[in-house]
Symmetry: C2
């Protein structure tokens, strides 16, 4: 189709002014002033709309257009008239307007302001609203910036598997992936059980008959797989969906979400934090440069402090504090009268209220908390010389809390094996992971960034359901 | 860690020549010539290796290094000596070499050439081989090129859901996603069955107790969701994992693979083919420019015609032929003595042998076959004026067969409803999809590109298991 996108009108207004152009888009509003009228259209190519002016005398189907409903698809041909004195830089004086697809009068998103809760029931239509047009453009631009950041630095993008036969991290409940019919599952027979030397029990589900021949789940993290590739390419990253079957109905949890997990070889925790800080700043700057209209709308209607906060984060050094120091800060705050629901003492897992106090009240900027007690962190994190903390670093940001969890990995075979044994884990399950420590191990580190949390941070949107095209939460897989 | 990556040595050889640098990497080979020796290392930052020269007189731990096994991790500091007369442009004269992580003598990938079949059992280590170093770098570069292609053109990246409650396309068997224990599933009671007015049957699995409250599966395509966003943003694309639970054990099928699915509004089938052709050429050119060493290796050891074929495709127009014409070509070939396993006549689904004949023998270049019989294509494809074919376009490429399947979508509400009814599908399930035709419908089109097939095409690798970091196929979810 021969048409000009509205974004091109804005980027090439000077040269297109006075020219005849054809645009295609969806009607946002029609104002009929009797002898002339205004049709506002958007074609999705940019946040800004185009105002079309139509004249009853020259437009044969003036009345037809004047009666179109919101969201009707049209094409319009006319002269682009520059209007330096008006709020918008130009308008299109229509010669012809054609209705491509009318919109039925019961269109659910009429001009009156709809709640985000209602819009969640209209997920197929909500991208047409200003709010979601802004959110999902920012999401796309942020994703592209993340790829560009890593590719420019020579990182190799690795698509780690979504379906996995191992629950390596033990990170919460997992979804089963299966082709077995639960109404009629194949069961282990007495003969099989006897022949298995006690490995199988008669009457339990016979997983050898499932698609993969073993029980399989949706991944909770690509990290262990990514390490395989970091030991070959040095610097790698994943960017893909991950899953949690947790029955938690909060504004920050979804059953399906995207994660970015870089993994870097010949690197320690400081390198890891530097990478995370550089990446966050890169993405923030890129979104600010690419989406000024979207951020302007979000700053005006969603979160009045948004732009100021993003500017502040992009230009300030992140705070870095050890867990032990953080506990002292929290204890001092309690002594000075600060109330927390959860008591503070060395060894506790920091709660969101603690994290938000540190990053919002105390440091007033993004904050890395490092060197957590080994007991509350994952088995693969590197044991510090004190024998009780590990080289972990969580990045907390104002308004969200934890956005990044990272660590230097335990690269010492003997230390890692002792840790796995101590935790009562099955060493055989980690054979490949241990192999990386047998054949040319080296210090390495990585982190996981929850992409939706980043988008919430970039947009000021408070509910994860509103930054995911079609969110999946407990009880909800519609659309 | 303060070190120079090997890629930097190659890109900045002139300025680094004569300087002292520190590198870190994994040993690929050690040659001990008694008084001096050569250590070849690679750090993954580029395909090329670095040759380190060590001298027994000046290197205190010469013997230790000389006895290191393949894949040991080391750091080396020394002078970068430019060697314009030698095959490699420089070498590192070592002052110190430190073993960071030794490699056990039973390292499974010794220098002797391993088969790809054996390497599939060593997926955690195979990225360290030249073959997989090339393949997975190309995969990463191709993925980045795809994102760049679409972002440069203003497309919005949409993460369509992985978990879905609908089997919209009916595209083959799907994996169930569940938290129900198949050994002990909740069942519909007599009371529930009675109360449900026949919707539920006593004794069947009670899906309302599953995580999402309904039966859920892994997506086979993000297209229908992507259309929701194309009707707001105009141009969108997905790039994410998709799944097929097909019990097919071929070199071209995996249970988990990545797909790219652009969707464009105010566009017809010709626009769609133009987009597909532009995208393929863009990616090929980008990989050729970015990965000359990788392609050189693949061209030498995997597929001798690779580079010539890629150059040819990047510079030639794709053929375009209707299905009806394609059938005539095949029938004429049969008349002229060409043998096919499957008989040819109008109405058949083209088999791989037919596709390959068209693209390899007849047109000798990538070929779009368009306007297939409606009966063998999906319900959402736009019915042509002849009433019997639909506006579909499959792109066939030499050596692979179908790599892209696209179509203009049926945007006419009445035609689409008739099609859904005719096929006996449940209209209620497609309520949202039909809504897009009720509220501002417009001509639109899109396609699906199987990313792994593209990587096979770009690398000449013949088995899909060797272009996926950790492939999932029937009976196989290891690693």
């Amino acid at each position: 189709m021969d048409r000009t996108k509205i974004v091109q009108l804005y980027t090439h207004a000077e040269e297109l002014g006075g020219q005849t152009v054809t645009v295609a888009g969806w009607i946002k509003s029609v104002r009929d002033m009797k002898n002339f009228g205004f049709v506002t259209v958007n074609d999705g190519s940019c946040f800004k709309d185009l105002q079309i002016v139509m004249n009853r005398e020259t437009l044969a189907n003036y009345d037809d257009i004047a009666h179109q409903n919101v969201s009707a698809a049209i094409t319009a041909t006319g002269t682009l008239k520059l209007t330096p004195e008006a709020p918008q830089p130009f308008e299109l004086t229509a010669e012809t307007i054609e209705v491509v697809g009318a919109s039925a009068p019961d269109y659910p998103l009429q001009k009156k302001r709809a709640t985000v809760e209602f819009l969640r029931t209209q997920q197929h239509l909500r991208p047409r609203t200003n709010l979601f047009r802004a959110v999902f453009r920012v999401r796309s631009v942020a994703a592209a910036a993340i790829h560009r950041f890593f590719q420019e630095r020579g990182f190799v993008y690795v698509n780690t598997p979504i379906i996995t036969a191992s629950d390596c991290e033990g990170a919460g409940e997992m979804f089963r992936v299966t082709t077995i019919d639960p109404a009629n599952p194949p069961l282990v027979s007495e003969e099989q059980a006897t022949a298995s030397n006690g490995e199988l029990t008669a009457g339990e589900v016979d997983w050898s008959q499932d698609f993969f021949g073993v029980p399989a789940s949706l991944t909770v993290s690509g990290q262990l797989n990514a390490e395989n590739f970091a030991m070959a390419f040095g610097d790698v990253y994943t960017f893909g969906p991950t899953f949690r079957a947790e029955n938690s109905n909060t504004t920050r949890h979804a059953a399906e979400f995207w994660m970015i997990e870089p993994e870097i070889a010949f690197a320690d925790l400081a390198d890891d934090m530097n990478l995370a800080e550089d990446m966050l700043k890169y993405v923030i700057r890129d979104v600010m440069a690419t989406c000024p209209d979207e951020l302007g709308m979000l700053n005006k209607f969603v979160d009045k402090g948004l732009i100021e906060r993003l500017e502040h984060v992009a230009s300030s050094d992140f705070a870095r504090v050890t867990y032990t120091e953080a506990i002292e800060i929290l204890e001092q705050a309690v002594a000075a009268g600060q109330k927390f629901d959860y008591p503070v003492s060395w060894g506790i897992d920091l709660q969101t209220e603690h994290e938000r106090f540190l990053t919002e009240q105390h440091f007033k900027r993004p904050t890395f908390v490092t060197d957590y007690p080994a007991e509350i962190k994952a088995f693969y994190m590197r044991l510090n010389d004190d024998g009780k903390t590990v080289a972990a670093a969580d990045c907390l940001v104002p308004g969200i809390g934890e956005i990044i969890g990272g660590s230097q990995r335990e690269e010492r075979l003997d230390v890692l094996e002792r840790r796995i044994e101590k935790l009562g884990m099955d060493k055989e399950q980690y054979k490949y992971y241990l192999d990386l420590r047998r054949y040319g191990t080296c210090p390495h580190a990585g982190f996981g960034l929850g992409f939706e949390r980043l988008v919430m941070y970039l947009t000021g949107v408070g509910n994860i359901r509103d930054v995911i095209p079609h969110p999946r939460t407990v009880g909800n897989a519609e659309f």
